[in-house]
Assembly symmetry: C3
Homo-oligomer: 399 residues x 3
Amino acid sequence: MPAMTPHDIHRMIDGLSAEALGELKGRDFLLTWDKSREELETVLQCALVLKALRTSNISARVYDSGLAVSLFRDNSTRTRFSFASACNLLGLTVSDLDEGKSQVAHGETVRETANMVSFMAEAVGIRDDMYIGKGHTYMMRVAKALEQGHKDGVLEQRPTVVNLQCDIDHPTQTMADLLHLVSETGGVEKLKGKKVAMTWAYSPSYGKPLSVPQGVIGLFTRFGMDVRLAYPEGYSLMPDVVDTAGKFAREARGGFRVCGSMQEAFDGADFVYPKSWAPFSVMEERTVLVESGDRHKLQELEKRCLETNARFQDWQCTKELLAQTNNALYMHCLPADISGVSCVRGEVTAEVFDRFRTPLYRQASWKPYIIAAMIFVSRMANARATLSTILDRAESRVL
Amino acid sequence: MPAMTPHDIHRMIDGLSAEALGELKGRDFLLTWDKSREELETVLQCALVLKALRTSNISARVYDSGLAVSLFRDNSTRTRFSFASACNLLGLTVSDLDEGKSQVAHGETVRETANMVSFMAEAVGIRDDMYIGKGHTYMMRVAKALEQGHKDGVLEQRPTVVNLQCDIDHPTQTMADLLHLVSETGGVEKLKGKKVAMTWAYSPSYGKPLSVPQGVIGLFTRFGMDVRLAYPEGYSLMPDVVDTAGKFAREARGGFRVCGSMQEAFDGADFVYPKSWAPFSVMEERTVLVESGDRHKLQELEKRCLETNARFQDWQCTKELLAQTNNALYMHCLPADISGVSCVRGEVTAEVFDRFRTPLYRQASWKPYIIAAMIFVSRMANARATLSTILDRAESRVL
Amino acid sequence: MPAMTPHDIHRMIDGLSAEALGELKGRDFLLTWDKSREELETVLQCALVLKALRTSNISARVYDSGLAVSLFRDNSTRTRFSFASACNLLGLTVSDLDEGKSQVAHGETVRETANMVSFMAEAVGIRDDMYIGKGHTYMMRVAKALEQGHKDGVLEQRPTVVNLQCDIDHPTQTMADLLHLVSETGGVEKLKGKKVAMTWAYSPSYGKPLSVPQGVIGLFTRFGMDVRLAYPEGYSLMPDVVDTAGKFAREARGGFRVCGSMQEAFDGADFVYPKSWAPFSVMEERTVLVESGDRHKLQELEKRCLETNARFQDWQCTKELLAQTNNALYMHCLPADISGVSCVRGEVTAEVFDRFRTPLYRQASWKPYIIAAMIFVSRMANARATLSTILDRAESRVL
């Protein structure tokens, strides 16, 4: 991003929709389809402003004190650091709710824990993506508990819940992906009509969440893109999300189509996003088995899935497949399963991955700004005025 | 708490006793009975000022840099987050001394570790509550090491040790409890003569620390309250602490009585605090067994205790018991063992817990402010002047 | 350190070499022998300035936001807290890359991880000291990845890598040790000709890194000291480092000699640094066995080494040995194996350790300032001007 003058940044700030900011204020960010298209664009734009400020060495610190709570129920590198970076940019200190070190196991309810960690919290980021029907439900319960706690005078402020990946959606990822496309193409309006292939790809592992492909089809369709979803037989996504994607495509006069092969999806595509996931039905079965604690059946399920998986080893992103596209940009949420690098055979060849390494890393680099923007638009009483104040006071981030 | 004008807050600050502040300066907070009543009231008042400032969006950040060290030798949710919140409010960054990740196990002495982590530390918060004769002793050793390190020119400042729960007392909990009562009744002087029932209650678990009941009887008696301690035969507390509570009650012209039943303690009570704990003698036996590493005898002890425990399942806080009180406020340090919720049968019925959920959460909400006040009064060279400066500079906590 | 006037501190700042600062800018701190003597002195001097500022209650916070990443592949107390303190002093928030909680295990490359955690990072501190040929190599790879990431526009800034102990060197330790000597003797020029005994000492454990003795001989020789390295037969260090130390001694017209006994090394010494380490050849063998996963052979190696070790129990720092020195200052990186305290028989007698406890703790107290200085000189565009600005704005560290 080229350096911008304060005047440029002021114009970006003026472009933020007051109406959308009004809607975003005080709201959680759990699923992109809970938000209007204008609200989503406002978050993207706010992220761009925050980046422009930082690039200009202007500190966007709006909190002199305040906590952000993180709760990771699954491993994470980039989301953990993105959340830490975003909170730090705004002046919040992250306190990690490590359930192993807490008394959560000792019969504490979600409602109670949510209140107990939030007396001085402005944001709560949660990753809970492993079991169908669990993650989003948990986040809703946390949000409700915080809402009630604030209403009851227990919490002086109502922290914003940010979904750092649930069983259904992964909005901090897909919004960063979208901002990457905006940045690469030159504007959100340029995305209209662009062809995207969101496809399954082979991985030697089993049980990867559905949240990325679901998040992508549920978000990219809203911007008039022509989205093709491809997967081998049996690897379907949640029907609701697929329906929603179809509806969004019709509303935005874009396209949404399910294809039976990578070839079909890649044909003439502008962007390709090949990524492994587990079939919805398997994830459901797995959730039930985990709940019942049936280790034997879980191992059987895993064995069966890996066998099924192995039948689709040709679902790999190769340079030959890319040659059929419209000089497509390769995307991935990382880490990718790279053939010959992180596994014998995986989602993508090393050759393709290497060619796109720099844009892939840039894609990831938007996440801290997206998370900061999600928190910012929810927490600030008047986000536009505050951004102007930040710009005008021009406090140095680095002395 | 209603919004206050700067004038109101100035009056609160003026009300702080200069003499008590002088005594608190540079001192640790390990046991409430080490402090004079005036000192305790000064800490409560300082906590109220810090809350009034935050509610008025005035930042109480007094440190531009500085560390706070936390050491948790037992699980914790609310105390961990309260300590994090308190330190953050004052501008300190918490660094957790995770003994598993440190070289503490490799023959490092308490004296050495205490100095090594404190070169830039202003406060050290410790939870060490599991073994009789250990926690408080450990904190005293840390305090002595820091005192010596500062005297020897090793430490540029002498960090304040804050007891986040030891084997004897739990001052951040009981001071927060007390502030809750002050807030509910309208003033510390209103507490005089109020009847409090601190009673044992049944829990299906074994080995809960004595620090809360001991802390409560050792603190509430100082404010002229009529404190009744009730427990089943065999569940007595440390004799020293019980003696101290009696002495405090006489001095403050309040009351202190040991009762043999919840009924007796609840009769006409204004506040009830039913909570499980392990008998002192059991805790002592357990400490010896843990030291000797005798797992078999430990299991036997646990089995025996659980059997004894099970005989007192009727020690449960019910609405019938509450009906005998003077419309009492139910208190708990949380998490409670709630019958039918976190266990089959526990300390309190779900009905009672639900009725008092909001005041219970508010009770917990004072802890960050109490901890911040404990650190503040110990660290500031002139706490009253500094609070006035904070108020007058009126830096926004949130832009 | 006596309190200094702003005038004194200004003179210290003026003494910083502009040329050396120019060389240090943007560079990592991996090995002291990568730096010129003038650069090393500049880091020492910058550390002294940062200490003088803090002692004068002047905040050296140069970052209003920014992350520091820490990665500890081995246990650590003092380095962990020193890094936390240093970063906090400058305004950076430490985010720990806990590889267990990350996706590093899932086939992520060093290059990718390095970029993914660094979008808003200014410094990356790494401890990786367990295996020969690994730690330094890993740090170089991280540094290269960050360099490339910045060049490719992935990272807005190029974080500085700080070696918090590798297989070869331990510069934050030895630079702190050196600053301790400067502080004790009154100036870096006073070190010329001083006799230092860096000797092996007995420990009941096995496998301690070589980085401290190697770091010491590779650093102290540069300042014209007369360095004697002593160890039992078979406990030699990496030949390259020993050669480098010899070369430095010749260049600085100091001395460097390998002795066969503590007695010889201690004779007339001004400073003694007796410390256990594993033989280079054993560390090499161990690295191969760890890689091959051969637990049986590893146990055999350990057994054999402990047997060899046991033959040298008389390599212990006693008061009798100290009596042969020129009233030497005893040094150690801590924790020491103290006979009768942390082990039956170890590196030093309790009597000697106790006599030097305070200077030992002071020795350790320099590490936070050394780390802060390493980051500062690398990150600041104009370190001298920035220090002057910090001094002139005179923002209070504690209100």
